[in-house]
Amino acid sequence: MDKKVKEPLIHITKRKMIPKKQEWAIRLGGILAALIFCAIITSVATHLNPFAVYAKMFEGSFGTERKLWALLKELGTLLLISVALAPAFKMKFWNLGGGGQVMAGVLAATAVMITMTDKLPNGAIILLSCLAALAAGALWAFIPAFCRAKWNTNETLFTLMMNYVATQIVAYYIIIWEHPKGSGKIGVINQTTHIGWLPQLGGNPYMLIVLVSIVVTIFMYIYLKYSKHGYELAVVGESENTARYVGINVGKVIIRTLILCGLICGLTGWLLVAGTDHTMTTTLEGGKGFLGVMVAWLAHFNPIGMILSGFLLCFMAKGGSEISMAFGLNRSYGDILTGIILFFVIGSEFFINYQIHFRKSHRKEAADV
């Protein structure tokens, strides 16, 4: 049998359903393998003790109360955006415009805070800026959803381009509202009067956004799992034909879901301007519209799972910047480690679904029989 019959070296077969425990064991194994691989890369490339590097990463995320809150703020923001994207993705509507929808909310909130300061009482400004941000976020999501429902346009490109439109409009208004004149920046809005600023819960500037993100995450979990809307959008995502077959109005569901998505993004924009940052820059959402896509995918669109995947990414980002400062490494080194870990995490999904057989073991099996 070992003469001329050449079998392929490896072949891949689909796995049987495996228990949840084993699934998680494979994922954990993936992360462990990633850490070992990162350790090797770190000692070879930087000659540093990898354990010292890992310790520093923890310090960067949890080292002080301030660092912990900074991590939580990042996580809260990221979670809000990821959770906003979840229903759209579950509907297989590839909304890459989370960032643009946040920026629309940022712009609307800023506009109210700057232009209405002298005209309305503080409470009214807070309320109005919130409503404006919600409306702007919803509008930014509605436009591509409407075109998709009506003319079947490609939502991926459409939402992506809407990001750039939003950023450019923000850039335009930064020049109009720049303060002080000639700085090319807006600076802190109402720095002395604090008009339009949200109150600090428990004396902590980040508490509010963290709490809101938890509430929204739980809301979304229930919405997707138990509500009629959640069921409808899941059916639309799986098969538009089946949806039509049971009388679900596909266009209506697409538009409704994207409006919800835009509302949460708009809310996030409002929380950033009125709650934490009190200014508007073109990079205020900081790429989280895209990062949120990754968070949502890693969690298989389960909002509770997004807490984990979001945490992983925030932790890597904070830890990564800490080690680059502490050890004088290039700033990109943290990104390299993040990339390696993500690669392993995503790769472990392959091993959950498939099994690899090698020629040697295959032949031994045959001989045993």
Partner: protein, 522 residues
């Protein structure tokens, strides 16, 4: 069964698994030259998988293949072609905008006669290829015009191109996967004549099928598979339908379908002058008129794509209608129009209309959802307030699993993991549980094994006896003739006749399907 000759192909201990499914287990099969071998088995018995391993589409997990006694490795379709094996798949793989000749030479590297490159950088010699195609056609009695575009061809012509393509590549072992599924009885006869010519010429033919009368009509030997395992090979002449069925199913099965006498027949659905166009403006239904009665099975016959799908979808409220009427007639004779109503609005009119569509996992069910969530498709709107009710559908799923003997690991299993027959039981079960007054079914037993098919026939007859108006779109004429009270024949979107299921014969319906029966309006 022993044979002193060396088989052209021997498959030994072939095993192939797909995840949890074992498609083939320790299969041994011998194929001899100059014979037509039927590979018989129910759907899901692993016939196609086994042949796909011979034609290089799949690679076996275990086992060996010998050709003329020598071990061979077939790990790609090219390997298979090099060994003279060619397969004609159930779904044609042709380029629509190319001519027959262009399709036939597609993917061929070298002109076998001159050794001159005809792909790659050298010149395509269509003339020469056409000449060779004509030679092949003359030899076996095919009817192919090398210059005809594929989009102008009928299904049977496309199939012929596929066969010529395989012969052109020099195959002497041909595998045909359910070749008659898309053909009329007349076209099937023509195909069989060609296959017999090929056998005379010394070619080897393997025909995959689950239709017994075809096995009897065409093959010398029949090899039977059941649940992925090889059961045995019989000489066709020495066996009969009952013996083959028993081997195929694994137990004694009765082979006739009940047809209870209709009682209390009243008109229920009235269709008048229905005309429907597809999105790209093609006429799909042309002035279709008929009445479906309560307590009756109205069979719809026709070559696939003759408007069956559009007809059912029009009644179910899923189709944009150009003109015509569709009326629901109440017991007291009052009519309400269903035109322009979507499925929810139809239900709101008090019309319980159940629909088992052709595309089970793409329309009737959601493959990635579990049994209970699929039951919810019809009932999720009934939940309290904004929330869905999950308990009732869960209980319903349990009931359907029990009543129809659905084989599933659990109610929480995604339906795409079930076998075809069980998927269909879930769908039919859900639709029947709605206590319909009209039941539309499209190809309700396609791909189902004999057991599951008979379960479905029984369910349809039960509904008929309950007084439901059943519209049954079918493809197997034998079944249509045994089950239906009346048969409406569609040809190219037109009604070419409505015949009595008890008196019509297969030939008559077959002729109407190709419109040779003239214009009868029922």
């Amino acid at each position: 069964m022993q044979d002193s000759r060396t088989p052209a192909v021997s498959m030994r201990n072939i095993t192939k698994t797909f995840g949890p499914i074992t498609a083939n287990k320790d299969v041994d099969l011998d194929i001899y030259r100059g014979e037509i071998l039927s590979l018989l088995g129910e759907n899901g018995s692993g016939k196609t998988t086994l042949m796909n391993m011979l034609s290089g589409i799949y690679y076996p997990d275990e086992g060996e293949i010998f050709m003329d006694g020598e071990p061979v490795v077939i790990s790609s379709p090219k390997d298979a072609a090099d060994h003279g094996i060619g397969m004609i798949h159930q779904h044609f793989k042709l380029v629509n905008v190319f001519t027959a000749a262009q399709n036939i030479i597609l993917g061929i590297d070298q002109d076998s006669e001159s050794g001159k490159k005809i792909g790659g950088f050298s010149k395509l010699d269509i003339e020469k290829a056409s000449k060779k195609i004509r030679e092949i056609c003359d030899l076996y009695g095919f009817d192919v015009d090398p210059n005809q575009k594929v989009y102008d061809m009928s299904v049977s012509q496309k199939q012929t191109v596929e066969i010529v393509k395989v012969l052109f590549k020099g195959a002497d072992i041909l595998i045909l996967d359910e070749p008659t599924a898309v053909l009329t009885p007349q076209e099937t006869e023509k195909l069989f004549a060609v296959l017999r010519n090929m056998r005379e010429d010394g070619k080897t033919v393997v025909i995959i099928t689950h239709k017994l009368h075809e096995v009897e009509a065409i093959s010398d030997k029949v090899a039977i598979l059941r649940k992925g395992e090889y059961i045995g090979t019989l000489i066709t002449k020495e066996t009969n339908a009952q013996e083959m069925t028993n081997m195929m199913v694994g137990r004694e099965v009765k082979l006739n379908i009940d047809r209870p006498e209709p009682h209390d027949v009243k008109p229920r659905i009235e269709v008048k002058g229905l005309t429907v166009r597809s999105d790209d403006g093609l006429l799909k239904l042309d002035d279709v008129s008929f009445t479906a009665n309560t307590g009756e099975v109205l069979g719809i016959a026709g070559i696939s794509g003759c408007g069956q799908k559009e007809l059912l979808e029009s009644i179910a409220g899923l189709q944009v209608i150009e003109s015509g009427e569709i009326n629901y007639i109440e017991d007291d004779g009052s009519k309400s129009s269903l035109i322009g109503a979507d499925p929810v609005e139809i239900e709101a009119k008090g019309v319980q209309l159940s629909f088992v569509p052709e595309d089970r996992l793409g329309m009737g069910l959601v493959g990635n959802m579990d049994l209970s969530e699929n039951m919810m498709l019809r009932s999720f709107r009934k939940g309290k307030g904004v929330f869905t009710d999950r308990k009732t559908p869960h209980a319903l799923a349990g009931k359907v699993v029990n009543d129809l003997e659905v084989v599933t690991p659990s109610i929480e299993t995604p339906v795409r993991r079930l076998s075809g027959g069980n998927v269909q039981k879930v769908l039919v079960g859900r639709e029947i549980e709605r206590a319909p007054s009209v039941l539309l079914t499209a190809y309700a037993v396609r791909g189902l094994d004999i057991n599951a098919s008979y379960t479905i026939y029984d369910l349809i007859n039960q509904q008929k006896e309950r007084g439901v108006a059943v519209i049954f779109v079918g493809e197997d004429l034998d079944v249509l003739l045994e089950l239906s009270d009346r048969i409406l024949v569609l040809c190219g979107g037109k009604v070419s006749g409505i015949v009595d299921g008890r008196t019509a014969d297969k030939n008559e319906v077959g002729l109407l399907m190709t419109k040779l029966g003239g214009e009868k309006v029922g």
